[in-house]
Symmetry: C2
Subunit: 374 residues, 2 copies
């Protein structure tokens, strides 16, 4: 049976399980109590504010069963925690704070993934929760996935977003047409090849997901490639740790002003880390990178050298997964992590893709809800 | 006339103007060149990638007129920059990297702003670009503004978003009704008072703007308050610099699972800074703050002490601007900066607000475009 004990001053609880000894502060336990006085039992929201906590919050008693720890505070309040909840939320643990470590659930990849591209079949994703859960989990793990079995009708890409969330509308519309235009507002709307990039880094907040769906693809070329930006960042860290540090410790700038009435700008690092050093996002886009002004003068040559190394890693065929979408196929990328590219195309035949943006909040929420009931 | 000179190795250009001497690296000038070989002259996007830059990029010659600096690289390429563009994009300058400094254009406020709440009249905002520009600039400066003259019809809040951008749809809908419900999925949908908070900190990306529009307001109470989160963060920094550092250097967690199929979670700091130390965002919400797990064990008591000080600053009436919306009035907040609150309400009469989310990218882009043509 788990054992509990209190520090002499009552500020800490120690929970000893078969695996570990985990300490918790009285103030943390009080603030995060799960009882009906602290949280609405229907929607889980906290009913108290920080001002409702005792000034000097101490514990007077604690006891445990196999599954529950019950604590009594000095002011008489008693509340119970499942042992499993305490171990899942414990903070008395060593933590990886290495700059550039992967977020939970993520796994890096390169060309090796060409033989096992994560793919969901739209009718199955729509009807089978297990299929949907696996497909969403693949996106969380790899940052992209393909879809097959989509209707080849305009707007069918919205069926993909509807699996988990909502479209993010922008100045490009609820969706945009990716095909050759005569006076393109964006080089995406030409037949040019495009270096691997994340979309709209000049937008803050950036759209965190992008869907590209194929309606026609009989032109020569126009293959799509995806590149793992987290793997590229870690590769840069390996060959040039100082350069990696320069890219995450100084803001870059991005801009887009290709249409009347639109002047989008942002100022964020190329590689963004959380305070704990977790990889949070990558912004990389040759077309819309603006002149950096936040890099100290003496560091600028090394900053550019690191950017060029990152660009080389991204351009390396060993980094890329490649496919040519057939009509009725689509792919989705985590636009905070995975870059996408396309080969140039020309000649006879048509290439018509539709794209739209969406956000990860809904995707990860839907996945977590499916996992909770699985 | 401005003077230019080259460093002996050709790696740097010096530009001497009446005000300053500014140095630029050859690689930076080459990458950010403005000519038709480097950028699409129609949409401004860069046509080259980092791989197209010379390996050892050096300058061979430079000359200037009153308005233009023309440089020639060692490989023979010649390109011209407006002097004004170079000075506007110069990086050879001391930079404020104090943790917690304000972003450009922002100005902090407290109760002093009660006598001059920034307000736009919807018909004027819709028809007069100067009115719209001033109203948008007030939001950029203060992080909130009121709107008057809105139709008292359901959905009229979308007219406000249409001034600059697009609705961010979420699990709460394209808009949500803020009125008392019998089985509320969120405590917002009750008559309870709500401590000042930012909305949806459990969502990543967070909605960066919120609109709350009033259709009926004859109940007792229900006043709205707004609080400048950047001012609160700077006040905390003043009274407890170590506590301020704890809040920006460790991730907090937020969660919402009040509806079936929804399990939103995020892991971001309460106070988020850019790598340069600029205040980027504040997340503060008593109802949805989850147990922090990224604070080292020994720092947890000081972390909670800092959180409570921040909460006290936020609750201080000296921090707050207060108003009671009349039907046909609305307010918009920068949800990355400004907290909003409401007094409890009850008794006879009705209180019916509609809310929706939107994003700052479109707002700041629209403002920048208006400023460029003003």
């Amino acid at each position: 049976m788990p054992q509990v004990s209190l520090s002499p001053d009552g500020h800490q609880l120690s929970l000893q399980t078969a695996d570990a000894t985990l300490r918790f502060h009285a103030i943390w336990l009080r603030h995060n109590a799960l009882d009906a006085d602290t949280r609405d039992q229907n929607n889980g929201q906290r009913l108290i504010t920080l001002a409702d906590l005792p000034d000097d919050c101490t514990l007077a008693a604690a006891e445990t069963t196999d599954t529950t720890a019950t604590v009594t505070f000095a002011d008489g309040k008693t509340t119970a925690f499942p042992i499993a909840w305490l171990t899942a939320n414990a903070y008395d643990r060593p933590q990886d704070t290495t700059a550039g470590h992967l977020p939970e659930h993520a796994e890096t990849w390169g060309e090796d993934l060409n033989t096992s591209v994560p793919t969901g079949h739209l009718p199955a994703l729509q009807s089978d929760p297990a299929s949907k859960r696996e497909w969403l989990a693949a996106i969380r793990k790899f940052g992209f996935a393909k879809v097959t079995g989509m209707p080849t009708t305009s707007g069918a890409l919205f069926d993909i977003v509807a699996l988990f969330g909502f479209v993010r509308e922008t100045n490009y519309g609820r969706h945009f047409e990716v095909r050759t235009e005569v006076n393109p507002t964006n080089l995406a709307f030409t037949g040019l090849g495009l270096q691997a990039h994340t979309d709209n880094p000049y937008r803050d907040p950036v759209p965190t997901l992008q869907v590209l769906a194929c309606l026609e693809n009989s032109a020569e070329g126009g293959d799509n490639m995806v590149v793992d930006g987290f793997a590229a960042a870690q590769k840069l860290r390996e060959i040039n740790p100082e350069g990696f540090a320069l890219l995450h410790s100084h803001s870059a700038r991005f801009e887009y002003a290709g249409e009347a009435g639109v002047r989008l700008t942002s100022r964020r690092p190329v590689i963004e880390l959380t305070p704990e050093g977790t990889l949070q996002s990558v912004r990389f886009n040759a077309r819309s990178a603006a002149a950096p002004v936040d890099v100290p003068f003496d560091d600028m040559p090394a900053y550019y050298a690191a950017l060029r190394q990152l660009s080389d890693i991204i351009d390396d065929p060993a980094s890329e997964v490649r496919f040519k979408l057939a009509p009725g196929e689509a792919f989705i990328v985590d636009n905070t992590r995975v870059l996408h590219a396309r080969k140039g195309y020309s000649g006879a035949g048509n290439r018509w893709l539709q794209g739209c943006y969406a956000d990860k909040d809904g995707l990860l929420s839907t996945l977590a809800a499916l996992e909770a009931t699985a």
